[in-house]
């Protein structure tokens, strides 16, 4: 268990995850307050990774629920095992028959059966899905509910009971309360607005693109083979690309992929052909690739020098806004030349 915020930072760092104090504070609070964390941010900034790392750092097992359209409670909470129930009924047919032999009329038989129906609706016949698994786990776990915005709004309603009280109610059995409240991490790409009820029950953590130094630090940690000056160039260029108006801006995972590729290609210096050839790793849409390669000379020109703007703790939109206005000035001055 984490005792101080700084300890969170160190432990996560030991697990090869670089985070700032902000992030660590939220994780610390979530653990201390027994609250779920809702992590939002663009794809590929390490939301899922954070949950995995926290699980490792705490030495807890991770139970993951990947959300998708059409996810229902039968897949997320629990399900009755119909097949097994039917099979048991068949096998026990003789036994059941003998039990009913002495019943004088049908009414009594039904009454007798009703008294014993809980045999077939016991935990024995229940398939535990991730959420119930996490609740019923004998030791504390980390429950990761990934990309919740992919699931429908109705699904959020199933989660509410779990998130606020760490319990699951099964009508046939009763309420199962967690012995050890799990640390719940919910990730989302904010593709749709989550319901207020869900948000109210969570601590909110918005992860944006990291600042330049932190991104460099991440590259150094994850791709130590990449030479330092090249890493700087990569980060600088990525940040310039991010500032452009793209359908999907490259995030940390793309940066890392690219850095890895540059190591494999044994590159010494970024140049235009090379970047054009490898741009597919960074950008996921054809249109984006075309747009970036059209402006590549300018972008590379800028990437050589030191970064022109310093970005501290600005939020994502601010960063992009700032970048773009910067870029506009830059481009217009070039055109005048």
């Amino acid at each position: 268990m984490f005792e101080t915020i700084d300890q969170v930072v160190t432990l996560l760092h030991q697990q090869r995850y670089i985070c700032d104090r902000k992030l660590a504070t939220v994780i610390f609070l979530a653990l201390k307050m027994n609250k779920p964390v809702l992590i939002e941010g663009p794809a590929g900034v390490g939301k899922t990774e954070l949950a995995k790392t926290v699980a490792r750092a705490l030495d807890r097992s991770l139970i993951r629920l990947q959300c998708y359209e059409g996810l229902d409670e039968a897949r997320a909470l629990y399900e009755w095992e119909y097949g097994k129930q039917l099979l048991y009924t068949q096998i026990l047919r003789e036994k059941i028959g003998s039990l009913f032999a002495e019943m004088e009329d049908l009414r009594a038989a039904v009454e007798y059966l009703r008294q014993h129906e809980d045999v077939f609706f016991s935990e024995h016949f229940m398939v535990r899905r991730p959420i119930l698994q996490a609740i019923a786990a004998p030791e504390p776990v980390v429950l990761l509910i990934d990309e919740i915005d992919r699931a429908e709004e109705q699904f959020e309603a199933f989660l509410l009971e779990v998130l606020s009280d760490f319990q699951v109610t099964v009508p046939e059995i009763g309420t199962i309360v967690a012995q050890h409240p799990p640390l719940v991490c919910i990730t989302g790409n904010s593709t749709r607005e989550l319901s207020d009820a869900l948000k109210r029950r969570c601590l909110h953590l918005a992860i944006g693109y990291p600042d330049e130094e932190r991104e460099l630090e991440i590259i150094r940690l994850k791709v130590p083979e990449l030479r330092d000056h090249l890493a700087r160039q990569v980060v600088s260029l990525i940040r310039r690309i991010r500032a452009m108006d793209l359908r999907k801006a490259p995030s940390i995972s793309e940066t890392l992929d690219w850095a890895q590729a540059l190591v494999l290609l044994n590159v010494d210096q970024l140049n235009r052909e090379l970047v054009e050839e490898t741009l597919q790793l960074v950008l996921k849409y054809d249109r984006d690739v075309q747009q970036v390669s059209a402006q590549l000379p300018v972008l590379l020109d800028g990437a050589d020098g030191a970064a022109r703007v310093t970005f501290d703790n600005m939020d994502l939109r601010e960063q992009q806004e700032r970048y773009r206005s910067n870029e506009r000035v830059y481009f217009s001055s070039r055109r005048e030349e």
Partner: protein, 488 residues
């Protein structure tokens, strides 16, 4: 600690950030756990517990900075001053340091007055609490441990000392009051003289008070400026609807979000058709039927599911001169619709009608808009002719309107006195699941000039006035709301 936080929450709420009482409790709990030693920690603890919308984070940060940033004393008071000065302002041998102390002490008063003006029924305790917390933040942030714990005591004493700066008069926050304050001080000095205290000390005190009095207006001005900044309405909300045709990232995201919301609505309720599926509920009749071969023993349960219908959209957009101001917005809407949903067919028309689904698939939003207005596809300089466009659509593209499609028409319905061909729209209505007409013109102006909207409107399932993102958002909201009403 709870009072300043609830005040801060009230401020956030006034600026449009929704916060529930449960979240306030969380915030206090969080602060207690995380500690209030470090300003950034406090910020994160409050933000993660109170602010759940990514869009509101910037606003939160701005308000946090304003609220918890006390105007600092111009020079830190000497560390040994506190204890004695706190007891009383009456001069002693160290009173040379007192001006500093007075200045330092005014800072908390400033914040306290700020609070009392907003919520008048506050006993002085709260002001003390607030300054305790605020100063704690401020002092720690400046890494000046010597002063810790000093100013609060000073402040308490100042407050209990009637007639000294920091008393009740200041609390009104009205600059006019400083004259009364001066009078009160004068009276106090006269009383002191009557008590025959040492003259030299009295003079010192007088000079000192004069100093703080002259600073008072300036102080109040600063307080007012800060107050004004806190009360300033958000510019974004009050700004007039944007007319720019270039779409920035934020607008694009907003548009996407609204359209997703629309889409969820248009997807409609669950269909009655149940299909066998790997998951779902047991379908008794099918289970029995398929298990007849096992002597009627339901060995393999058949599960069935209600399928949700996917939205199928057909969008027809007017790009003529009369709607030129909104046409780009409308095209943006069309573009977003097609990029977000899988089964969308898009058409533009003036007098001719052309399909642009393929264009949208191929090129970016700006390129599409440029291409449409370049006149390559259709002649955009003509007068719009709704009747003809509808006819062409009906003749050639009728297949795009089936019983499962929602037809969206974007346009002002001004057909320049050409025959409106309303029967085609009626026929389309019968074919389609739903016909929605989004027009940029408000209902009042339909009667003016040659508008066919009064003819078309009753045929459509829904007619909405949309000319910017806000309105589009509202339309989406209404659609959702009416859907819920129908379900009940």
């Amino acid at each position: 600690m709870d009072v300043p936080i609830t005040r801060f929450v009230a401020l956030l709420k006034r600026h449009g950030i929704a916060i529930s009482p449960a979240e306030v409790i969380d915030a206090l709990q969080g602060l207690a756990l995380a500690g209030i030693d470090d300003r950034e920690t406090v910020r994160v603890a409050l933000r993660s517990t109170l602010v759940k919308q990514c869009q509101a984070i910037a606003e939160f940060d701005r308000l946090f900075d304003l609220f918890f940033n006390l105007p600092a004393p111009s020079k830190p008071a000497s560390p040994e001053a506190p204890g004695d000065a706190a007891v009383t302002l009456l001069p002693d041998e160290r009173s040379a340091e007192a001006p500093d102390a007075v200045r330092a002490e005014l800072a908390p008063v400033e914040l306290a007055t700020d609070q009392t003006t907003r919520a008048p029924v506050t006993p002085e305790r709260e002001g003390v609490d607030l300054s305790l917390f605020g100063q704690h933040l401020l002092l720690k942030q400046r890494n000046d441990p010597g002063q810790d714990g000093y100013k609060p005591t000073f402040h308490v004493n100042a407050r209990q000392n009637p007639g000294l700066p920091g008393g009740g008069e200041l609390s009104t926050g009205d600059p006019g009051d400083d004259i009364d304050l001066g009078g009160a001080l004068e009276a106090l000095l006269a009383d002191l003289r009557a008590l025959e205290v040492d003259e030299a000390l009295l003079e010192q005190l007088e000079a000192q008070l004069a100093g703080s009095l002259t600073r008072l207006p300036d102080l109040l001005r600063r307080y007012r400026a800060r107050d004004a900044a806190l009360h300033k309405p958000r510019d974004a909300a009050t700004a007039p609807p944007r007319r720019s045709y270039r779409f920035n990232d934020h607008e694009r995201r907003q548009m996407d979000e609204i359209i997703r919301r629309l889409g969820r609505q248009m997807r409609g309720a669950l269909s009655y058709r149940r299909t066998a599926n790997r998951r779902g509920r047991i379908n008794v009749s099918r289970t029995i039927r398929s298990n007849l071969k096992y002597d009627g023993v339901p060995f393999f349960p058949v599960l069935a599911n209600q399928r949700e219908e996917r939205p199928r959209l057909t969008v027809i957009c007017d790009v003529s001169l009369s709607v030129r101001t909104t046409a780009r917005f409308m095209l943006h809407l069309v573009y977003s619709l097609q990029s977000l949903f899988s089964r969308v067919r898009s058409f533009v028309f003036v007098s001719d009608l052309a399909e642009i689904s393929a264009e949208i698939e191929r090129s970016s939003l700006e390129e599409t808009i440029d291409r449409v207005f370049s006149g390559e596809l259709i002649n955009t300089e003509e007068n719009s002719n709704y009747g003809r466009a509808l006819e062409i659509f009906y003749e050639r593209y009728r297949s795009a309107a089936t019983s499962r499609t929602t037809l969206i028409i974007l346009g002002d319905g001004r057909g320049n006195r050409n025959p409106p061909n309303a029967w085609i729209l009626e026929a389309l209505r019968r074919r389609c699941k739903q016909v929605i007409w989004l027009t940029p013109e408000s209902r009042g102006s339909w009667q003016l000039g040659a508008s066919d909207m009064p003819t078309y409107a009753p045929i459509c399932h829904k007619v909405e006035v949309v000319r910017n993102l806000d309105q589009l958002g509202r339309v989406a909201e209404n659609l959702v709301r009416s859907a819920f009403a129908n379900r009940r």
